[in-house]
């Protein structure tokens, strides 16, 4: 019998050794762990900036792309060192609660409302407020991400700001609980409308080989402004957080070199961001 417990113990030891080695190895290089959103990751901006950041500072940027809610949660749990999200309301709360510091605006892109090419609800060219009222009154199928992401939070804020409430259980209001592209696909299937960031739309249009069933119908309204900011995880709440690396990141992102790179970034040949760090 002892033999088997010995073997089991060996297996466990092996695992812990590997764990230890990995941790040690990781500690060698300067690695900055970031949490950002899926839509940010999908734009490809980070793939473009990360090597430039490494060249400038010698720090390797690693990021997990999750929903905004989860990103903030990771920040609270001290699992990441820095956050890059686009939900100003939630970010301010995050800082107010003491979890984040050095919140810095970096760039913005915009959201658009997309819908079927033939626009059955007739909202093309309208302002956001009007369009939303049409959706609510005419009970037009509208797909929401429903996943507590930045996009979702913005969408909820739009309904609220424009005085529309109580639509959560309405049959025409569909909450997919999934990422942006999945939600767009649902909208395409059902002939519905949805709110998306421009970056995802550009990609979507590209995969549809320039002839998508859903097109942009409402844009340019300043309610559709999508501001990106970075926040360092508070060293007070998270002693193990690599605060100085986070600071270097934020500082670099706001620097003229990075800001230019952000502005020059093109997604599938189309510009996406406007850099606005002060």
């Amino acid at each position: 019998m002892h033999k088997f417990f010995k073997i089991a113990a060996m297996g466990l030891e092996l695992l812990l050794v590997i764990a230890g080695l990995t941790a040690v190895a990781a500690a060698q290089d300067k690695v900055l762990q970031m949490a950002t959103t899926t839509s940010t990751d999908n734009t490809g901006l980070l793939d473009d900036l990360a090597p430039k950041f490494k060249a400038a500072t010698g720090i390797e940027l690693r990021w997990v792309a999750v929903g905004t809610g989860k990103a903030l949660e990771l920040g609270k749990n001290c699992d990441v060192d820095v956050l890059l999200v686009h939900a100003p309301g939630a970010e301010k709360q995050f800082v107010a609660d003491g979890y984040g510091v050095d919140r810095t605006q970096l760039m913005y892109n915009d959201f658009v409302i997309m819908g079927p090419r033939n626009d059955p609800a007739g909202v093309k060219g309208k302002k956001v407020a009007e369009a939303l009222k049409v959706f609510a009154e005419k009970k037009v199928p509208f797909m929401s991400r429903g996943d507590n992401s930045g996009t979702h939070k913005l969408e909820l804020a739009l309904w609220r700001q424009n005085g529309i409430s109580g639509i959560d259980q309405e049959p025409w209001y569909v909450q997919t609980g999934q990422g942006m592209l999945a939600t767009i696909n649902v909208a395409a299937e059902r002939g519905g409308y949805t709110l998306t960031d421009r970056g995802t739309f550009i990609k979507y249009e590209d995969t549809m080989k320039g002839d998508p069933p859903l097109v942009i119908l409402v844009e340019g309204d300043d309610q559709l402004f999508n501001q990106y900011s970075a926040m360092a995880v508070s060293p007070a709440k998270c002693p193990k957080a690599q605060y100085d690396l986070a600071k270097q990141f934020i500082h670099w992102m706001a620097s003229p070199a990075a800001q230019k790179a952000i502005g020059d970034f093109k997604l599938l040949g189309k510009p996406l961001f406007t850099a606005n760090a002060r």
């Binding site: 033999k3 695992l15 990995t22 690693r62 001290c78 999945a182």
Partner: protein, 229 residues
């Protein structure tokens, strides 16, 4: 339908061209699944053997518990592992989150009930005549045990193949505690999730086919082993 054909073509292209991201995901998948299998087999087979071979009070209860764990959803395992290795959690200081090790740990937890339950079943399925035969030929103690385990080897092999299938194809754990970080913790399954999330279905299918090829090769190897044993 078009997705499938595109997927097949893409899969071949990815593999033949040595596409770095794909191969990185393949390496990550092979690494975590191998570690997880090694750990779960070395811990699970002895435990499964003890559970199946001996009689003791509470045996039924433990067996039921193990069988229940077979239904553990991977996302839940991922969540639990996260709770432990998050900086906030009890094992936070090891900095395991978002590493391949974390995924391996989670996958070990996934595979263990499978290995234990199926090994126990294999031991219980041993012919009653085996024990008498071994005793009458003079085997005792450790000889008796080792020969009995060897006699159950086909059942244990089945346990291994089953567990490996589970581990290779799971995505809940890899996503949750691995973080799907490109070049580091992006496995084939998390890459598939990512691609399909982006709407790149053909790519998703391509990666899926790559995964199936790996599974096929491993099972082929195990089948050859089975023949020889």
């Amino acid at each position: 339908m078009q997705y499938l054909i595109d997927g097949l073509i893409t899969a071949i292209q990815l593999l033949l061209s040595g596409h770095p991201e794909t191969y990185s995901a393949v390496a990550a998948t092979l690494t975590v699944s191998s570690y997880a299998m090694l750990a779960s087999l070395s811990i699970g087979i002895p435990l499964g053997f003890l559970l199946g071979y001996y009689d003791f009070p509470g045996k039924r209860a433990i067996r039921t518990l193990v069988d229940t764990c077979l239904a553990f959803p991977t996302v839940l395992i991922g969540l639990l592992v996260y709770a432990f290795i998050s900086r906030r959690g009890p094992l936070g200081e090891f900095g395991l989150l978002f590493s391949l090790t974390a995924i391996a740990i989670g996958q070990t937890i996934l595979a263990l009930p499978v290995v234990i339950a199926l090994t126990a079943t294999a031991m219980e399925s041993l012919d009653r005549q085996l024990r008498l035969t071994l005793l009458t030929l003079g085997a005792r103690g450790r000889q008796l045990l080792w020969t009995s385990i060897w006699e159950a080897r086909y059942g244990v092999l089945a346990a291994t193949m089953n567990a490996y299938g589970r581990v290779l194809t799971e995505v809940g754990i890899s996503m949750m505690v691995g973080g799907n970080i490109k070049w580091h913790t992006r496995t084939i399954t998390t890459a598939i999730a990512l691609e399909t999330g982006k709407g790149e279905f053909a790519m998703g299918i391509a990666l899926g086919l790559v995964l199936m090829s790996i599974a096929f090769l491993v099972n082929l190897a195990l089948a050859v082993l089975r023949k020889r044993a």
